[in-house]
Symmetry: C2
Subunit: 364 residues, 2 copies
């Protein structure tokens, strides 16, 4: 018997977008001393979010509200949009998957940057999309090149993250606004703002829910320190949100996560402290790189890309760091893969990283 | 601009499989006194699972292990299968969706029972499947009719739950084993065992991971009291699990939920107590029905279907109960919809239900 897979699924490779740090630990038989590879927040969840988890724990046997009503209402207020413009989902990966599914059939052209978020590519390929890429320009995603590729191919979906992962670079709101204004009618732009909390004022363009060409995505996994809880949201035209509602899993939200996200959203002081800590850590990382004779890329995220000059050196550094118990990651494609990418840790973790990187460089 | 939805998504109605109790509460402006409509466990999570959540809370800012290694290993041991035969997922609805996606293209024939789990139908329709149904026979899903429909249509996917939701009825393992043996080579059977913990010994057939025609699904949402945590798993041939791995969201698991599920799995005493409480509650519900001159269907689940004799009476009873603050549900199609379906609550909730149903019947 042959399992009756669809042609698309039958043709997919059995790859995964990322190997988890636990897998690496099992392979090596050792625990990492510093977990700085997945851009998880080193500063944890808000104490108010933790309290909300505890308060909700006795109701963990109840399904979460499939409308995520209270969280959605708070998000709509925060962004000055209607509740019909907000979709809460079980992490941004899930929302990316639903959005791709909504637009992409086998052969549909999809445009992104070569080296940008692999899980978007995983979904695009997973639904049979024809994934087309344009290179980064000076370590930034390149809105002009993306647009040109969209026009050239008639692509129906395009992806841009601002700030960018894995380089940490960003464009200002005016540049993104210009991109939005130029997206052709036949195309939907996913604007991934996962790291926006760490970016300077003036990085995020205003949200126009009358425009059906853009879907903005944000997450509680980064500044809110809730990666393990799985909460993200999309904001856009009501027709986009209705479309997502046709394909999403309605009861997918963890009930404790809904409560935690709402509490975290209201704890703006906590988020401000996390952002300040991350800024301090970025500066420390820039300084470290300078001391070591390396160039760190200015970052608007909770991680910093450090240029090692070549892919061989970057790969060797990553390997050496892993052997010293430091988990980081690096970009997967040229020319980005001359860099390593380190998440901003707490002071103790930053010290471990600084010492390990110093040692590793001496052995390169 | 028209959003470039796929033809399948464009054609889907904006319906949802279930309206959540919170939505009903918001509509009425009143909280339910007894929440007995979603087959959530009234007996909560294991204290060990709660302790595991607390112990993991400081790591909620870390993504869950994408392999769910420890939980999968424990599940593999419990079922006497290899880890390569187990897929952990973010709730059974998600696993059903991934499985449908793996098999169903637009027009693919899919067979289920008329009135069986609506979320399976939601996914089958959501991927453009041609949903074909056969009626229940004597309030049981009908393996022979399902098989015949599969043979007649060349269906590539079929669904059966044992025990059944929404009627609570079940077949013994021998009957299910006979079905499994007769599934044609061109078809995959999803055997949904969400309620198996409440069923008599001898309800679940042995799992044969050499057979690529069957995928068994189980959940932590029912006996384990973890509906709000989102943990389920599928067991089957390694090629099926590999196929699911090509389409699933690898980082979808809530980290606290992984820890809680593992702890709950090891707390077999707790599950035995829950099952005993549910048995007592079922008997009490049978007795209540008899006192009220109604027939309750024997159930192997944590709910009981009570026959009101007609859809009009059942609908009126459900409505009357809702007005008295009691949330229950009822089957959606004839002839099942002559029944109401009540989840087994704690003694206090059962008392509220008994009094309310008694009152409601007097007004019918």
């Amino acid at each position: 018997m042959t399992i009756p897979f669809t042609p698309v699924v039958a043709s997919l490779p059995a790859v995964i977008p990322f190997v988890g740090p636990e897998t690496l630990e099992r392979r090596s038989g050792r625990s990492f001393r510093a977990r700085l590879g997945a851009n998880e927040s080193a500063f944890g969840m808000s104490p108010k979010a933790k309290a909300a988890v505890l308060a909700e724990l006795e109701r963990a046997s109840w399904y979460g509200d499939p409308e995520s009503h209270d969280l959605r209402k708070a998000l709509a207020r925060k962004h000055g949009v209607g509740m019909e413009n907000v979709m809460v989902g079980e992490g941004m990966d899930a929302l990316l998957g639903y959005t791709v599914r909504m637009i992409v059939d086998p052969g549909t052209p999809v445009v992104t940057s070569l080296g940008a978020y692999p899980t978007f590519n995983y979904h695009a390929a997973g639904f049979g999309g024809d994934l087309l890429t344009v290179p980064y320009r000076d370590d930034h995603e390149d809105p002009d090149a993306l647009l040109e590729k969209v026009r050239e191919t008639g692509a129906q979906l395009m992806y841009l993250s601002n700030p960018d992962n894995p380089m940490g670079t960003w464009h200002d709101a005016a540049r993104i606004q210009a991109l939005i204004g130029a997206v052709p009618d036949h195309c939907l732009l996913i604007l991934d703002e996962a790291y926006i909390d760490f970016a300077p004022e003036g990085t995020s363009p205003p949200i126009d829910t009358a425009n059906p060409n853009v879907l903005v995505m944000r997450t509680f996994s980064k500044a809110h320190g809730m990666a393990g809880m799985r909460v993200a949201y999309a904001i856009g035209h009501a027709d986009l949100i209705t479309g997502l509602g046709k394909v999403r899993n309605h009861f997918a939200m963890n009930r404790l996560a809904q409560a935690a996200a709402l509490a975290s959203l209201n704890d703006t002081d906590f988020i401000a402290r996390v952002v300040a800590e991350v800024e301090a850590g970025r500066q420390e990382t820039y300084d470290l790189a300078e001391r070591l004779g390396l160039r760190a890329l200015p970052s608007a995220t909770n991680f910093v890309a450090i240029d090692l000059g070549s892919n061989d050196r970057a790969t060797a550094a990553l390997q050496g760091l892993a052997e010293m118990g430091v988990f980081i990651r690096m970009p997967g494609v040229e020319p980005l893969n001359r860099c390593i990418r380190v998440t901003i840790g707490r002071p103790g973790e930053r010290e471990i990283f600084a010492e390990a990187l110093t040692d590793v460089l001496q052995s390169l």
